[in-house]
């Protein structure tokens, strides 16, 4: 993609900028319709209708909200630390956007073909933590600060099971690169990691239950990492007003929102790449059978987006199913349940791969 753009524009800088901006083209519409989907899903789960008045069945509601947010006054509280208060939403967004650099959207488009994509994705979540802490502290509001501290504690804790599960998957596949990992799960859905990987051996059958455990652990801990219900302690409306985003208004609030929904898709895509073949189609490609090679990347983009959106929908479904956990329950789930299980899982998967 980058090479193609370099040839097209004849300038490295322009090409680099364009290819770096491509995920935005994906994220912004995703956020706009993700927010709508969230409201619609929540409404229908509660036997309501949700937004109905802007466009057909309210499809343009978020667009209208977006314009509303742009027009809103940008309020900065008097006691706030102006510099960091202004910087924090962008830092949080950077943390969420940086993940997209390592996600393979198709076999031809990946931001950075780095060899350590998975490791990098775990690392950049630190930006989001720092940004949330910064926003919470700079707001000079105790609810914001509580939210920020809770969020940081939660993200730091839940990074451990995430990392352990990813480690076990790295042991299985032998690569840290998301592109290679997707490449390995090619062809049909039984080659996906959740079904024990592409290698046909009796270990494949042995692996399947542990893969499911790994998947569940990863899904839960990524849910906590993006601060979604039932783990939305940082924003807990009933306790902390709106957590770290209490003092924010207008576009800065929208940036937090953008980061949250961007993160949701990023972790869903990560889960789909690790366990569900990423951009790989479950039943082979139409482009191959028709002999149209140019069609394959588009198909891959479709499957990638579909899998990601499916997991995002499951996140929403979970959100409107479960009540919020308490802080101590949150920590119990992480330290007393997820971490021991992921450790055991790591060891077992390691042993099976050795066989």
């Amino acid at each position: 993609m980058y090479n193609f753009l370099t040839e097209l524009t004849g300038n490295e800088i322009i090409a680099a900028f364009i290819s770096a901006m491509l995920p935005v083209v994906f994220i912004v519409p995703f956020v706009i319709f993700g927010v709508l989907a969230e409201r619609k899903v929540s409404a229908h789960i509660q036997d309501r209708l949700g937004p109905m008045r802007v466009g057909y069945h309210g499809v343009l509601q978020t667009v209208a909200d977006f314009f509303k947010l742009i027009q809103k006054e940008d309020i900065i509280a008097e006691g706030a630390d102006r510099k960091f208060f202004n910087l924090a939403p962008y830092l949080v967004f950077v943390g969420s956007y940086a993940v997209y650099a390592a996600l393979p959207f198709t076999s031809t488009y990946i931001g950075s073909e780095t060899d350590i994509g998975l490791f990098y994705i775990i690392a950049v979540s630190g930006f989001a933590v720092a940004g949330i802490l910064m926003g919470g502290w700079a707001s000079n509001n105790k609810y914001s600060l509580y939210g920020a501290l809770r969020s940081a504690a939660q993200i730091v804790s839940y990074e451990i099971p995430t990392a352990l599960v990813i480690l076990s998957m790295v042991m299985l596949t032998g690569t840290l690169s998301l592109a290679t990992m997707s490449e390995m799960q090619t062809a049909y859905f039984w080659n996906w990691n959740i079904f024990g990987g592409a290698e046909w051996a009796f270990t494949k059958l042995l692996l399947i239950p542990f893969m499911f455990i790994a998947f569940i652990i990863l899904y839960i801990s990524t849910l906590a990492e993006v601060n979604r219900l039932p783990f939305d302690m940082p924003e807990a409306e009933s306790e902390l007003v709106a957590g770290y985003s209490t003092e924010y208004s207008g576009m800065k609030f929208a940036m937090f929102f953008l980061a949250e929904y961007g993160n949701m898709f990023a972790v869903s895509a990560l889960v789909s790449v690790i366990f569900f073949g990423g951009y790989q189609s479950p039943f082979g490609y139409l482009g191959n059978s028709l002999g149209l090679q140019w069609l394959i990347p588009y198909e891959q983009l479709f499957w990638f987006a579909l899998k990601g959106i499916l997991f995002v929908l499951v996140q929403m479904w979970l959100r409107w199913t479960l009540p919020r956990v308490r802080v101590d329950q949150l920590m119990t789930i992480c330290w007393k349940y997820l971490i021991p299980y992921s450790f055991a899982n790591l060891i077992i998967i390691g042993l099976i791969t050795l066989l």
């Binding site: 990098y120 630190g126 933590v129 600060l145 504690a153």
Partner: protein, 170 residues
Amino acid sequence: MELYDIIFYLFAAITLLSAFIVVTSKNIVHSAFNLLFTFFGVTGIYVLLGADFIAVVQLLVYIGGILILLLFGVMLTNRITSVDIRTGTVHIIPAVIGIGILWGALTAIIAFKTNWIVKPADSMEPTTVGLGNLLLTDYVLVFELLGILLLIALIGAASIARREFEELKD
């Protein structure tokens, strides 16, 4: 390469500027947050040098770990609402003299004693495989010792936390 030069100077500027603020800022939380940009700039420079693994480790350990821990410490140990969190500068003149002499000596040594080699930049290659091999062959003892050290630290932390818990129970 022109583009790389621009990016390098950008990261260098970020690092130096924020490091300067870290040292001079009177507000300790400001210092801590500026440290974030210092670490980030260093990460960028690592990436430009082709040390991708080190760059990500820098990001993970320093930004994701140490910085967050630092901020937690600052925020939890000080009274947050009041503006008590301040650091002052004392003994400016002796410090300037001392650091000046040290810095002068160091730069002199670096500038005159180093055998500079000028050669075209290596192509960027993934370093993970080489690092992994080295860690588990040549440096395996150090690696294991470090692991044990971390384990001891972890157990120590857990035991401290546990004792308090039991005292509370009584």
